[in-house]
Amino acid sequence: MDDFDYVAEILKGSPLAMARVMTWLENEDERARSCMEKIYPHTGNAYVLGITGSPGTGKSTLTDGVTWQLRNKELTVGIVAVDPSSPFTGGALLGDRIRMTRHSADPGVFMRSMATRGYLGGLAQFTRGAVKVLDAGGKDFVIIETVGVGQDEVDVMRVADTTCVVLVPGLGDVIQSMKAGIMEIADIYVINKYDRPGADQLFAEVQFRVDQDASIKDRAWVPPVIATVAVEGKGEDDLLEAITAHRTYLEQSGRLLEKRRNRINEETLQMIHHELFRIIRERLTKDSRIEQMVEEIMNHKLNPYNVVEKVVNEWLPASRLK
């Protein structure tokens, strides 16, 4: 496969090429970088939807439902579904495909499972990269399904154009819905499992928060609250309508460009951070200097603060100029 032109194949939408480059990204294989550089100019066309919420709220089933709705409109869909890696073994059980089997033979849908590999924030480190691959591969929509999140895993809003926060009845009282973190990032709230007891109350509580938000600060976009029963496909058309409305708002207000500009800013800084860290870690571990430093810190000859300064000054001479 050495003569296989991955870039050209990705741009043609080849699943084989997209899948392999995603693996390279995940493995930090150096072959990923030149591919990503070349496909980058072809990104920015897909609309990116994020679906987040606690474990078991129905994110996968909703992703499946929204995909179904989009396919009915003849739009192509890429999905990146993230599940956690074990902190003990590094292994992972990626179970999101089970909810999406009806799309598994549809060439208009590409679905990739991704393990977090220790990365926090609700996504895997290279979820962004995988989204770009799908975008360059010509998918009209890319849906990111986060790991089951708690209160503070909000990275998805930094990658998605529209973020849906999925809630279900029975998880907490009105105070939970007033807290910061995940409850703040929704462009759309989805109350799933609406056939369960307590759904109406949850709907009212979330609506109450939305109203509070609106009275605290003027907002151009007021997040709608959508009721769904994902396993029965109920409410999915309402959800797609809300997504479309949010997209229209972003596009017409100029917020979409602003969002994407912020994203590039943040992402570029993050990539620089990651690359610098990678280089320094590699050098420190290669000649076991890090072990020596740890010993000296243990013996109180050094401390982490002067070690940082030492390392940074050694490899980034420019920082001395400040």
Partner: protein, 133 residues
């Protein structure tokens, strides 16, 4: 370069309602440090191969208890080849009569693990035979 993980699809082809074994093996593979994509029951060979393609799997593990292995297992291998995925290691397990094993191996299934196989044997076989990409 980050540590590579073995990615394995665990699938049950055909009409077969029992997936305790497949679920347990999925756990065992994850415990062994692999990234396991569990596709669930009632998969067609086309669905399994599409999953292997999109997930860029290293291994496909097929489980069958209903006697459909002679058709489904070779079909999966054949479709993998057609999708240029001949590097994917295919292993099988479940209720497979001993006399069927030579034919299945000839068709490209690398190994068949029957009931009672120590799980270390299965994990060890996969780790020893997986191909790099």
């Amino acid at each position: 370069m980050a540590e590579k993980k073995i990615k394995i699809i665990v699938a049950k082809p055909g009409l077969d309602g029992h997936d305790r074994g497949a679920k347990l093996l999925s756990r065992i593979f994850a415990e062994a440090g692999m990234e396991v994509v569990y596709t669930g029951l009632r998969q067609t060979p086309e669905m399994i191969v599409e999953a292997a393609l999109q997930e860029d799997a290293d291994v496909v593990g097929l489980s069958s208890l209903s006697g459909v292995h002679n058709y489904f297992f070779p079909k999966v291998v054949e479709l993998l080849k057609a999708k240029k995925l001949s590097n994917v290691l295919v292993v099988g397990g479940g209720i497979i009569p001993l006399e069927d094993i030579p034919t299945l191996k000839k068709a490209g299934i690398a190994e068949i693990f029957g009931p009672g196989t120590p799980t270390d044997t299965i994990v060890g076989f996969i780790k020893a035979n997986v191909k790099s990409k």
